[in-house]
Subunit: 338 residues, 2 copies
């Protein structure tokens, strides 16, 4: 059996299943984006890592070293945001051909540093190795969260409303434009969508605001795609979900990019991924309070896009005409690219 | 300018120089193998990472997945040992071709888990990605140390004795045998040296014993090579050193492997690297106490192999006939392989 047969999540489940059960210090272990760990202090320690590989996760010429640095940091910061945490320290593992230009590394670190310092965190170490074929960056980010502020994937309950910050699909729309240079859109649209794809913003303030309100039952960041990520919440919370297509916050820019590239804006929003918005569930009576609270604290809108259902409902997308589509497949899997 | 022109350590210095000075929470930052960090607890948090690339750091067929897992974990555990710390949690980043056999991953994790659990630590997360060309593993290891137990590279003083645990050169001797299948040595020697190269033992108990005695002024683990690693201590401590060739603890096994492969056992010990012994400095009056203390606590011998001198002395190897060789070059550099 090959890794490609199992897929990323199948492989993670297999690996986790073969390990002994986690010890007392582990609040959240393998299977989540972030490990949540007890130390000798009062707060929990958060630890997350993420690999970005040239030609797989990014196109080196398209993104450039500065934005690659920013994005590699942002992706990890977003994982800490989704736990309601505060990022602190970052270690950078680089593997690259010895023929790499030093100026590429200079710019990469400038991007890392800009993103990390904007988040109030620091680069404190790392490791460099020879990888003859291509450039690779693996980032380890540490952070902390108060035990009563920790946001998990596992607490969604039937009747909870599914909410999301900001807009969905802009990153995928930006990628579609990158891959189709013939597509004609307004320069402003082009710039906005490319920025969404190449320099995504981690929702750290939104995550802290949500964590402080005590109303969120489950949360994740939209990295693999909305359907895939709500699927992670459903799996961990043992629930199903309806996602209401008409309610998805899709920007005019994403719609015009979809038209220009012959793609579907709904698909950008549902399966595109890399929006790094926060996707979370809230008991129905507290939705108004949460929307107002996040808006007041951050200026970011929150939209209700669905509802948690019993597990037998599975994951479904409800279109405006009432048609229901199964939504359980279609996110990003590192070993099963379509 | 290319990365290969600067070399690994030149590149790290350049990167560190371009970043803002470390904040108050950072006890040790970029430039050391381990970051030492303040949290809200009393102990310091330790964080280290290390990449192993197929065909660069290891030969996949020679080591096999189980031993690769053990070694990848051991290398990081050794870094924590050199700080006098206690390892706790490990995150595993894997990048590999989708055609990788799942059984390879199973065995890799079995090796990781065996090594990690023997050290009292736990695997708590990680990340898997598609790397089309070859296998790569990046391990992030966390740990802790009491502030008054922390061992650093920076405290060696003129007159201190340079000490090392165990024997030096066995790992390089094992590699020499691996690369020269024609070489004839006793099967027992072969097995001992291959084990030293393929399943090195991190000196965690020795590190804790040393940390508890309060006599060690500087410490590092022998990963790049004895000369290169004592060079890191000299650089951080602003001192020079004489290494006494005749005093180096070289095993009979390493000597016979040197003979069988036409290599120099002294070279194995001085430049080979990957022994993962602890190399440390102790004020002369306390050497006897330290040797006895480590032996009593762990059964590991400690050997005095040199003496710290003023910085102008540089790094020199003194042969038995009094000849002095400059020893400042010759360790492992990821981007300048000889």
């Amino acid at each position: 059996m090959l890794v490609s047969d199992l897929g990323e999540f199948g492989l993670i489940d297999r690996v986790a299943g073969a390990l002994p059960p986690p010890g007392e210090g582990v609040v959240v272990g393998i299977g989540d984006d972030v490990a949540v760990l007890r130390t000798d202090g009062e707060n929990y320690l958060l630890a997350t890592c993420d690999i970005q590989v040239e030609g797989v996760h990014f196109l080196r010429e398209a993104i450039g070293p500065y934005r690659l640095g920013r994005k590699a940091a942002a992706i990890n910061l977003s994982d800490i945001a989704a736990m309601g945490g505060v990022p602190t320290y970052l270690l950078v593992s680089l593997a690259m051909p010895p023929q790499t230009e030093v100026s590429f590394i200079d710019e990469l670190y400038r991007g890392l540093q800009d993103e990390v310092s904007a988040a109030g965190a620091e680069i404190v170490g790392g490791n460099m190795a020879n990888l003859p074929d291509r450039f690779m960056i693996d980032i380890l980010l540490l952070g902390w969260v108060e035990p009563d502020h920790l946001l998990l994937r596992s607490g969604a309950r039937v009747g909870d409303q599914v909410c999301v910050t900001g807009v969905l699909g802009n990153s995928a729309a930006g990628l579609a434009l990158l891959l189709d240079p013939q597509a004609e859109v307004d320069p402003e649209v082009w710039e906005q969508l490319l920025a969404a794809h190449l320099t995504p913003r981690p929702c750290l303030l939104e995550g802290r605001a949500l964590a402080g309100m005590g109303a969120v039952t489950a949360a994740i960041d939209v990295s693999d795609g909305t359907l895939s990520d709500i699927g992670h919440i459903c799996e961990r919370s043992h629930v199903g979900v309806d996602i209401w297509a008409e309610q998805l916050p899709i920007s005019e820019a994403a719609r015009s990019a979809a038209q220009a590239t012959g793609k579907d804006a709904l698909d950008f929003a549902l399966r595109g991924g890399e929006d790094y918005q926060l996707l979370f569930t809230v008991p129905q009576p507290r939705v108004g309070e949460v929307m107002e609270g996040v808006w007041a604290a951050t200026g970011t809108p929150v939209t209700v896009i669905g509802q948690i259902l019993p597990p037998a409902a599975g994951i479904q997308v409800v279109l405006s005409d009432g048609t229901r589509l199964p939504g359980s497949k279609g996110g990003w899997d590192h070993f099963r690219q379509s």
